[in-house]
Symmetry: C2
Subunit: 447 residues, 2 copies
């Protein structure tokens, strides 16, 4: 099987969303291949035996500090074991009893059919699971679990990298602070963080950071060794400093080096560094680290099953742009909180206004300029993706297929963890997005 | 406060038990000072502000991969945040509901008086807490919590490095496997792990490893740069490989290089590498990593409050000799399981014989040769310290003051986490051991 995959070459420039994977260890994950990558079944991480044995055989050993660990197919193991490869910081669930979900399982969901974008023939939801390298999927309807399955490296007591879904947590925390009047979205970043005054962020507003309409010189051309993505990755990687790298260390030092490139507020530009800057902003405003704030405001309030965690930089700062790992059901609890406009079991946990501000969406005009031609009419608000479709659906999205997809009309939350060989969601959207709509339509029909 | 501590120089050779701290990052912690170290109050990690602020000020920033993080007084922060400085692997509590302790708090325990070894005047238990830099203490009597306090970096929902207390978990797992007939204590190590056949471990029995009566060339002379302790530390440290080190990587590679030095079975010699070898043995025998085995056999069975974790080497192998971090109450649950001869809430979780074999102790003759003159009549069995005193007390012990102290006659478990500036327990035993006996005597008196 390895022989097959070794033939695949990494096409570095094909994948813009790869920044998260890249920032993990200064190396891009496999982006796109001309050959067919291993199928989900062929690349099953348990079958492949990554890190199994005492010691694991050389060709199944993923060494700490080596970029190999996040290359497909090894990443199908690593997404469930991020803490084993780097330092982390907990998001405490506190010690309260967990709140179990109610279950109303409906396995007919497997048989829901739909037509993928651009396809002539239909596909079932069950077929999408392998096609999208799903590691775990959970569907909530009316607050009850109607569908839940685990594959690959994930189990119900395991945890999985959320990748850029992390950003929606950062954005939600910021939205909470705005709703509470503790963070002024019109304030200039430089007025909150003087260290960023001279950077490209300095005269951007908090709102522009939250909606990623900042104009920043931040190039993600992986083929150019002088591209900002590489400098960022080296700064974010907790190990490069130990390997002789002498540039900026950590998110905070890196962010100060970012230059302006144009006029803020005109166009949506998906750049992870906005989420890192927002993490800094909310920490400076609250005096709490992002992991502590997330625990205080959300993770300790929903009867979570497991404490979550963030990977950290060399200074112990959590990666607000993509470093969260958590259990599938706990991600679903968060999704349900958002669907419920901030209420959980009758209690208003976070302000209703914080969720309303997400759901209303951002500028569709600004989004249109962003180079996401397939996501017609969408916008980006508080680090959530807003579809503006008939159901008013919105989503948190991360590379390799991570998602929290919320459809208020269907009263539905879908959470999916995955390890697709291609980082960019454009690789699985043609299947995933119509599949989610089909499930919503089925549930709206009263099952 | 820092000025005061900067005057203290590290006396490298004074502290034999420092191996655990050293293995963390190839550097010894502050061992002993001629001046008085900062007091517990002066060195309080919250007051000192380690890693507080966004970013923390330079003199409070502990960088990943820097040896500073485990130097006193910074170690008073780091003992609660080990995962923030290195890769880790979880010991899952599973998703079962937690089992709360019954409480029967008796604050009069604070006022129990006793005479420290060699002292003329008495001290109260409360006074010992500051003197021993206690971060958390919990006393169980008849299975109920009678005393529980947190200090320094620790809170009830926090976790703390157990240091060499970890070894007693490794030893208990081995004792379970022996009781179940799955591990032959008379088997030669080389027959179980062929890779160790040619090493000093090869012709030692499993029993000799479990009781640390192996004769190994393993020098802990910190002043000699060629001392084995330094090679071990570099191998164990997940980062040295990234810094140009090209020796053996990880516990398994290092253990193969250990040479024999004398005759196995004659003398107790406290060497952490025995616990690492035992971890390898039980993994090879069961096909499970030590963290998985600990979860399956113990951590998922006691209604633990938190999943625990191990620090790992560059190959993801848990540090069986000292890498466990856990919550205080969960350590107490384990202590109570052992006190109860393997039963927990009426159910036999681990074989009674496994505990009986610990409690019977090892060779006092072999122990006498070990250079622990203050621990008269003690022995070492299955990686537990057996006092052979009138109460039949026995203990798990780790550097800087970690302990699980079990007194079957008093039906008592004391668990203490601490961050004493001196690694070796000989620095706090003159206070700690008579204090524990005084608490036992008080509880035996029916409170």
């Amino acid at each position: 099987m390895l022989t097959k995959v070794n033939r695949h070459h990494t096409a570095l420039t094909l994948c813009k969303s790869i920044v998260l994977a890249a920032s993990v260890l200064s190396t891009p994950a496999l982006a796109q291949t001309q050959d067919q990558p291993l199928s989900a079944q062929e690349s099953d991480p348990i079958e492949m035996g990554w890190m199994q044995g005492f010691p694991p055989p050389d060709d199944r050993l993923l060494k700490i500090g080596s970029p190999d660990f996040f290359q497909f197919p090894a990443l199908r193991y690593s997404v469930c074991h991020m803490r084993q490869f780097m330092p982390t910081i907990p998001v405490s669930r506190d010690l309260k009893p967990m709140t179990p979900f109610e279950y109303a399982i409906d396995e007919q969901i497997s048989d829901i059919t739909f037509k993928p974008w651009g396809a002539d023939t239909t596909m079932t939801l069950e077929q999408t699971l392998q096609k999208t390298y799903t590691d775990g999927i959970l569907v909530l309807h009316d607050g009850e679990v109607v569908y839940e399955h685990y594959f690959g490296c994930l189990t119900e007591e395991g945890q999985h990298a959320a990748m850029s879904v992390t950003k929606s947590f950062t954005g939600t925390l910021a939205s909470i602070l705005v709703a509470e009047g503790k963070l002024n979205p019109q304030a200039k970043v430089g007025s909150i963080i003087p260290e960023l005054e001279e950077s490209g962020f300095g005269d951007a507003t908090v709102r522009q950071v939250m909606d990623m309409t900042t104009a920043l010189k931040y190039d993600e051309d992986y083929s150019d060794p002088n591209s900002e993505i590489w400098i960022y990755s080296k700064a974010a990687n907790p190990y490069t400093r130990l390997q002789g790298y002498d540039g900026p260390v950590g998110y905070f030092e890196y962010l100060q080096t970012v230059e302006k490139n144009g006029t803020h507020g005109e166009a949506f530009g998906y750049r992870t560094i906005n989420a890192d800057a927002l993490g800094w902003i909310i920490s400076r405003v609250t005096g709490k680290s992002v992991n502590q704030l997330l625990s205080d405001r959300i993770w300790s309030k929903l009867g979570m099953e497991q404490s979550a965690y963030y990977q950290v930089d060399a200074h112990g700062i959590p990666f607000s742009g993509g470093g969260l790992s958590a259990g599938l059901r706990d991600m679903a609890r968060f999704g349900q909180l958002i669907l419920n406009e901030g209420r959980w079991h009758g209690e208003q946990i976070i302000p209703q206004e914080a969720v309303a501000d997400i759901r209303q969406g951002g500028s569709q005009e600004a989004f249109k300029k962003s180079g996401h031609p397939k996501l017609k009419g969408w916008s980006y608000r508080n680090m959530w993706w807003i579809t503006h479709n008939a159901d008013g659906a919105f989503a948190a999205r991360g590379v390799h297929g991570q998602t929290i997809y919320i459809d208020p009309t269907a009263n539905m939350v879908i959470v999916r963890f995955a390890s697709h060989p291609v980082a960019a969601n454009s690789a699985n959207d043609p299947i995933s997005l119509p599949a989610y709509q089909a499930v919503a339509d089925y549930l709206k029909g009263g099952k």
